[in-house]
Amino acid sequence: MEVNHTIEDHIYQPEEKRYSYLNLGPTHPATHGIFQNVLKMDGEIIVEATSTIGYIHRAFEKLAERRPFYQITPITDRMNYCSSPINNIGWHMTVEKLLGIEIPKRVQYLRVIVMELARIADHIICNAVIGIDTGALTGFVYMFQQREEIYEIYEHICGARLTSNVGRIGGFERDFTPRTWEKIDTFLNNFPTVLKEFESLLSRNRIFMDRTVGCGPITAEKALSYSFTGPNLRAAGVDYDVRVAMPYSSYDDFDFQIPVGKNGDTYDRFMVRQEEMWQSLSIIKQAIAKIPEGPFHANVPEFYLPPKEEVYNNMEALIYHFKIVMGETDVPKGEVYHCVEGGNGELGFYLISDGGRQPFRLHFRRPCFIYYQAFPEMVKGSMLSDAILTMSSMNVIAGELDS
């Protein structure tokens, strides 16, 4: 919209309110990501917000149509890069559902541990950033230190810190080393104290509550009509969690509660994510306690890359290795949709394969992209500072927003 101001605009006509246009643009410290909002403001109150996204659109869906199945994993972990293992394992489960591979119990438990660690890491960033936006900077520094611990655990599991590319179709590329178990245990020991300290710093803090209670609320009906999922929907009062609604990777072996808010404002979103961190911690403890022995990958040689010493020693492994890398393995035709509970909601993979080397069509159901369209409605009539708080409490991640 082009706004041309003429001289008479400057003469104040009392009957028609003068609106100023504020551009919360692409490079803005408050928008923890790259999206733009042109806010039509009456003084400090937002009258209308029009958002523009797509500033880091990298065409994941077109890219996925040009890569064999096991090469798509590095794309998926650049979608929601705050909790990339969940995307990877979600993608592997979709392919396993297409191929009909049966996953051993130990792999499912290992996957639950890695995914819950990723969920904690995602919620650490979101809640620490809510703390920053209300002015509590110390929380971020302490919580980010814990995220470094999780980065170190990822390095032991898959070698990378952030874009993890963890696991393979059919399981993991290597079992967890004893050093990894030690690091997970030390993390489980000293994370609760830091989390309790962070929670006591903010959750009953007068300033924090005055700022966040009632800021950017959304009712359950409106959230459902905007296809909300994840912590933002649970904060609005609907207890929908893919781990409970459609249990995958043996989530039904663990008992955990789903935290549900009441009026869907920033305080509820903060508290839902805090409680989910505690639940994830208890899930990891239960998983470690009950983890069965067994192989760390399914016995499916034509899709699982054999380890190097086997490739050099026996003939079949060499042939399988060659076929997988060159992508000559025949993939069954079919359409499959599989969803996992990502850091921000139901992360779905809709895969159509026509038997060829690459998927015929791969569509990602990206929760951020879907629930961010309700942002203008949530901030209408609120102050500018509340709008920034609402945006960071929705945990909109640019990589997942514009795929």
């Binding site: 041309n4 101001h5 400057h10 100023s20 551009n23 643009g25 490079t27």
Partner: protein
């Protein structure tokens, strides 16, 4: 206090000299040493990376100016209390009464403002 007169204020004068000197030198040094490139785009207002539209000089709601002016007014009142607080004992009761008169005058003004609703924010 053997050296009466202005000499006792020399240290304060020196401090002001140093302050003004430091500010002056750094300003001039950075201005002289720093390279300057006055291009058209650089002189435009920064609008988070996109082309600025419209004009920033539009009439704002009056309540912002009112709050600012009233703040200045009552801030000056507080400044008058500093010397009073320093010489509180020496001035004794008469000084106290004068300050009460001074403050009550401004208090009446404050009530007038509240009655007129100048500080009402949510219109």
């Amino acid at each position: 206090m053997e050296d009466q007169g202005l000499i006792q204020y020399a240290p304060i004068g020196l401090m002001f000299l140093f302050a003004a000197g430091f500010v002056g030198v750094t300003m001039i040094a950075t201005h002289a040493l720093g390279p300057k490139r006055k291009t058209a785009i650089k002189l435009e207002s920064f609008e988070c990376g996109i082309q600025p539209q419209g004009n920033a000089r539009i009439p704002f709601n009056i309540k912002y100016f009112l709050v600012a002016l009233l703040f200045v007014l009552f801030d000056v009142e507080v400044i008058f209390m500093y010397p009073w607080a320093v010489n509180f004992r020496d001035l004794g009761i008469p000084g106290f009464i004068e300050m009460i008169v001074f403050m009550s005058a401004l208090l009446i003004g404050f009530f007038y403002i509240i009655k007129k609703g100048a500080l009402k924010w949510e219109d």
